[in-house]
Amino acid sequence: MNQNQGGNDARHDDDSALSDFLASLMDYTPTIPDELVEHYLAKSGFQCPDVRLIRLVAVATQKFVAEVASDALQQCKARQSAVVKDKRDKQQKDKRLILTMEDLSKALRECGVNVKHQEYFADSPSTGMDPASRDE
């Protein structure tokens, strides 16, 4: 799989580091299970007999989702820190960190994904009047 053309030590170091990494991947269990990754890979026409590449794709996806989630978390905390009134409220809100569409759309916009969502669903005349007390 690693096609060594011969050559300088730097490339050999890269190759050895990469092969060590791929070997360690077999010990690491990605959150996205292998069967699921294989299903989506087969659906997209990706053929590879090497299990390490499947793990590589799985951890790449996991890293992407983790980045999006952490960006959304930062957005959520930034929004909460602006609304803090006193210490008691802040502790209560820290326990309830909710992944909302607003934070998610802001986090995804950095990745180039435009997600549009409805601001609110009006099922009563008072909907949308007080956003702070609205719960999903």
Binding site: S24, T29, T31, F46
Partner: protein, 254 residues
């Protein structure tokens, strides 16, 4: 996520539900406690699209290099392609070594820094799933037609596509049959069921005259096969399904 809900889903919904569980686990490890259902579904959809885009990019890269199976270079290229939106170090250098590209190095750092989060529930192995759905086998195909794979559906009832054999006069014994039909006279012909595929059982006598200026006489129909410098220029093949004795359009004008 209850197991009963998973069993009643279709295949695509099943994989989506599993992905939703995995994505929820990742979000929980990032620090979230709860999530809006619409937000969770959105991020799950983005995850499946990301996974498929990685795979499509890598496989198209391999295909354009003349390979059917992707290797690590294809995957790293796909990673770089998807990271080009946000940018990464070394993106402006096209000659850099692929194995030292920064998306790959970031991925290595990510794996080494995080402790693993295994999936919440054990998934059924693919072999178990295939036992529930037996592939339809057609043993008749394997015996009579070994060139046809057994997983294809069997042929329909032979009476639907095999016509009962009728006498079809062969072209080689044309003269002999014309002699036989001299005694049969004008007989009505049967229209074939399948149109052009089968000649009618009994036909009018047909005479061919090679050469020019051959006129049809009476009920007999004549063809004039055009001759040019002694070489026969054949006419078109015609079907006798709807023939008309008086129809003169079969005569080729010379």
């Amino acid at each position: 996520m209850e197991s009963e809900t998973l069993e009643t889903l279709g295949p695509s919904e099943f994989s989506f539900a599993i992905t939703k569980v995995a994505v929820a686990q990742i979000c929980q490890s990032a620090g979230f406690r709860t999530a809006q259902s619409s937000a969770l579904e959105t991020i799950t959809r983005i995850t499946t699209l990301y996974l498929q885009t990685l795979a499509k990019s890598a496989s198209s890269r391999a295909a354009s290099s003349g390979r059917t199976q992707s290797n690590i270079y294809d995957v790293v290229h796909a990673l770089e392609h998807l990271s080009s939106d946000q940018g990464f170090a070394g993106a402006s250098n096209p000659n850099g070594c692929l194995l030292a590209s920064s998306p790959l190095l970031d991925l290595i750092k990510f794996v080494y820094s995080r402790c693993e989060i295994p999936f919440a529930k054990p998934l059924p192995r693919r072999s178990n799933l295939s036992q529930n759905l037996p592939l339809p086998q057609n043993p008749s195909n394997s015996k009579q037609s070994p060139h046809i794979p057994t997983w294809l559906p069997g042929f329909p009832d032979p009476s639907t596509y095999i016509e009962p054999k009728t006498e079809i006069p062969s072209g080689l014994n044309w003269n002999a049959e014309v002699e036989e039909r001299k005694h049969s006279g004008n007989e009505k012909e049967k229209k074939s069921r399948l149109g052009n595929m089968e000649l009618p059982k009994k036909r009018e006598r047909v005479t061919f005259r090679m050469g020019e200026a051959a006129e049809a006489k009476g009920p007999r129909l004549g063809f004039r096969v055009g001759m040019k410098n002694g070489v026969c220029r054949g006419g078109k093949r015609v079907s006798w399904q709807n023939h008309n004795l008086q129809n003169s359009k079969f005569k080729r004008p010379r």
